[in-house]
Amino acid sequence: MSGAPLISVRDLRVGFATEGGLVQAVDGVSFDLAPGEVLAIVGESGSGKSVTAQTIVGLTRSHNARIEGSVRLGDAELIGASESELRKVRGERIGMVFQDPMTSFNPVYRIGSQIAEAIRAHRPAVGRDEAHEQAIALLDSVGIPDAERRVDDYPHQFSGGMRQRAMIAMALAVEPEVLIADEPTTALDVTVQAQILALLERINRERRLATILITHDLGVVAEVADRVLVMHEGQIVERGSLDEVFYSPQDPYTRSLLGAVVRIDGAAPLRPPRTSEPLLEVTDLVKHYPVRRGLPRREVDRVRAVDGVSFSLRQGETLGLVGESGCGKSTLCRAALRLIEPSSGSVRFEGREIAGLSRREMRPLRREMQIVFQDPYASLNPRKRVGQIVGDPLKLQGEASGGELRRRVLELLDRVGLSREHYDRYPHEFSGGQRQRIGIARALAPRPKLIVADEPVSALDVSIRAQILDLLAELQEDFGLTYLFVAHDIGVVRHVSDRIAVMNAGRIVEEGPADRVCEQPSDPFTQKLLSAVPIPDPRQARARRQTVGSG
């Protein structure tokens, strides 16, 4: 810490009046932040970390919000400041970067004009052309190649990492003193995440910004933070330097949070070798999407989403499939399950070729292979009760009805750690972790042999993540399930898999036993993937940065 604090938060309380009474989102939070310092606020969703950050700039103000306490920026008090005073603070003195760079840009305006808008909001004297020039310089400074041309792109024409760079450029447009980054890398691939963290660190160093980094990922914290606050249920339960919090945590919650992290470098649980027959055998599977142009529409190119993939999956085994978004892993799963039609190749399920089967012939096989989806929010029908969601597969397959159906569903709910009262509730009444349990119960209902889990935990908080992974492992033991486990997080995959296949650009570039792939990766892409995973251990992170150098 150096000098007087730039931001000083004292006993901040934010409550929201709801139909169910006052929800105290932030409950007495105090901290200081000096220029040049990176303060990480860590916590799970609902811990109040984002509300804290947004309250600093008055973004949580609404008719049902009760905000008390004090936030001082230099000499100015921000709680109770007028909207017009706050407007001068937003963007001008405090820049903000949000989680999802896709939805945080307005899709109908060009990137450059959105940055220029931020400049002109505070510098009315700056003309349009000048603001445009400044936007180009800003984009260039955050590492957007060919900024002169890309400045006129729309947000959807940028990749996720570039959008987040542009978001950072926009936050820096008027040279603020404070940067608040609210889960800036959560929506990004791990290799892109590493680049964005490096960028944030560079900016912090160069501009002596006071940075507040909000995240649920302890790995991210270990990479960049100076000091850490751990938030739980609206309160700060732990505060200290990076090393203090990681190596001598005082609060039980912090300890459980650290313990729940699935570490890439940790030993995977030991599993007995599986030697039984292959359940699923995929050979030379190809899925191409034609790109048609012209008149008459001619195929001019094809997107090789899956480009000749072979693997086999033995009964009771877990194969982890890792790759960045867009590498074709989801397409591969869908083609292997015949949810989409493969362009060519063979898929054998229990020795039977299913690639050419008709819809009708596939139907009885469908129950044998179930899928658990990534987004527990979007993949459950909001208008159906839990009992229906879980029971429908049984009813559709004509397996059970009436009292028998209800009994089986209750049993399943019990099995995945939900209770009987949940039978008549709707999905929106559940937390993310509970929803994923519903999704798992739904997949288990027809007693499948194969479960494809497509990023089943990437939308979940760390501690919930560990619970769901444990549940999946338990179910595997009890039911002798076979998993194809898809994720972009190689740490998670290692934790659950017997073998790992690494996918890049539609092909499997490396396959082998989980430990071998993680410890002695042979393919450069696997090495890149592994080295980009943030290690939730400040000393190791520092050591790695020293060896790698500042990239």
Binding site: Q54, V57, L59, E83, R87, K88, V89, R90, G91, E92, G95, M96, F98, Q99, D100, T103, S104, F105, N106, P107, V108, E117, A118, A121, H122, Y154, H156, M167, M170, A173, V174, G294, L295, R297
Partner: protein, 319 residues
């Protein structure tokens, strides 16, 4: 763009073909009086009826009659059965009144629809919102024919504030033109103002919870800039679709009732008369005229879409 135009042109031909065949068939299926007989007049000799039938081709096979009709319509020399007028001339005569009614009403309904929708979204839950909501629901619920007769009765016949009937050309006397059209404009616009303000209000409330609106606030934009540049701009995209459909349909015949009640000598009134007389040639021509505008405005909506939302590309995706 070329592919888009070609596809749209193809669609237009298809729609016009389908609509014209259907209209033609409907007319020939309903138990209408023999057109030859009604043309010959009361107490005409069978010979006269026979010769009219012969001359107009009423006993040709239906496909033959259809083709002759279409040929006449597209070459512009189609003659009505009733009074043997030049149909195209009559339609062209009616266009100024119909367009004046539709364009004027459109300007009113868009202006007030957007204004009321914007105000009630910005003040959602407040008194103004509640008042505007009641007005909008009332406007949507009121039947056009009731509104038109009430307006006519009180504002025209009883008080004489407005003229009751007729159309004055824009070039003859712009003031008188507007004076004659105020009541019809209002009649047509009222339902749509209500509808558009409700749609815009709910669009805006949805957009307000978007992440990019939070970003706009975090940049330090004023509340008005946030509302107009980010919320309103993005909420208008679905309104444009609605407008294209409604405006096309309006020219294509939705304003018939209003034209008839207010005695505006437009295409709608002509359609009204022709249907009364079961006069096939003008009905066919007017149906094609209307369908043409519906399809045209649909294409314009797509073009506007690509302009308003850069993620939409003309010609690609869509299917």
């Amino acid at each position: 763009m070329v592919a888009f135009a070609v596809r749209r042109l193809g669609e237009m031909v298809g729609v016009l073909l389908a609509v014209s065949v259907l209209t033609f068939l409907v007319f020939n299926v309903i138990p209408a009086a023999d057109p030859a007989r009604s043309m010959a007049g009361k107490g005409a000799t069978p010979q006269l009826v026979a010769s009219i039938t012969e001359e107009w081709g009423f006993d040709d096979p239906l496909p033959q009659q259809y083709l002759t009709m279409m040929e006449k319509i597209f070459s512009g020399d189609v003659i009505s059965y009733q009074g043997q007028e030049d149909v195209v001339d009559r339609i062209v005569e009616g266009i100024p009144a119909t367009f004046s009614l539709c364009i004027g009403a459109a300007a009113i309904w868009m202006f007030f629809g957007i204004l009321f929708g914007y105000l009630s979204a910005v003040r959602a839950g407040g008194l103004l919102d509640k008042v505007l909501t009641i007005l909008a629901v009332a406007g949507i619920s009121v039947p056009v024919i009731w509104l038109a007769t009430v307006l006519l009765n009180y504002l025209a016949y009883k008080t004489g504030l407005f003229p009751a009937q007729g159309y004055v050309g824009l070039t003859e006397d712009p003031l008188d033109w507007a004076y004659h059209l105020i009541l019809p404009w209002f009649t047509v616009a009222v339902t749509l103002v209500g509808l558009y303000s409700r749609v815009l209000r709910s669009n805006m409330l949805d957009v307000m919870s978007e992440d990019y609106v939070r970003t706009a606030r975090a940049k330090g934009l004023s509340e008005r800039q946030v509302m107009t540049r980010h919320v309103l701009r993005n909420s208008l995209i679905p309104i444009v679709t609605l407008f294209g459909l409604d405006f096309g349909a309006m020219i294509g015949g939705s304003a018939i009732l209003t034209e008839a009640i207010f005695g505006l000598n437009g295409v709608g009134l002509y359609a009204f008369e022709s249907i009364e007389n079961l006069d096939l040639p003008p009905i066919m021509a007017i149906v094609l005229f209307g369908a043409f505008f519906v399809v045209l405005f649909n294409a314009l909506v797509d073009i506007a879409y690509a302009y308003l939302d850069p993620r939409v590309k003309l010609g690609s995706s869509a299917r």
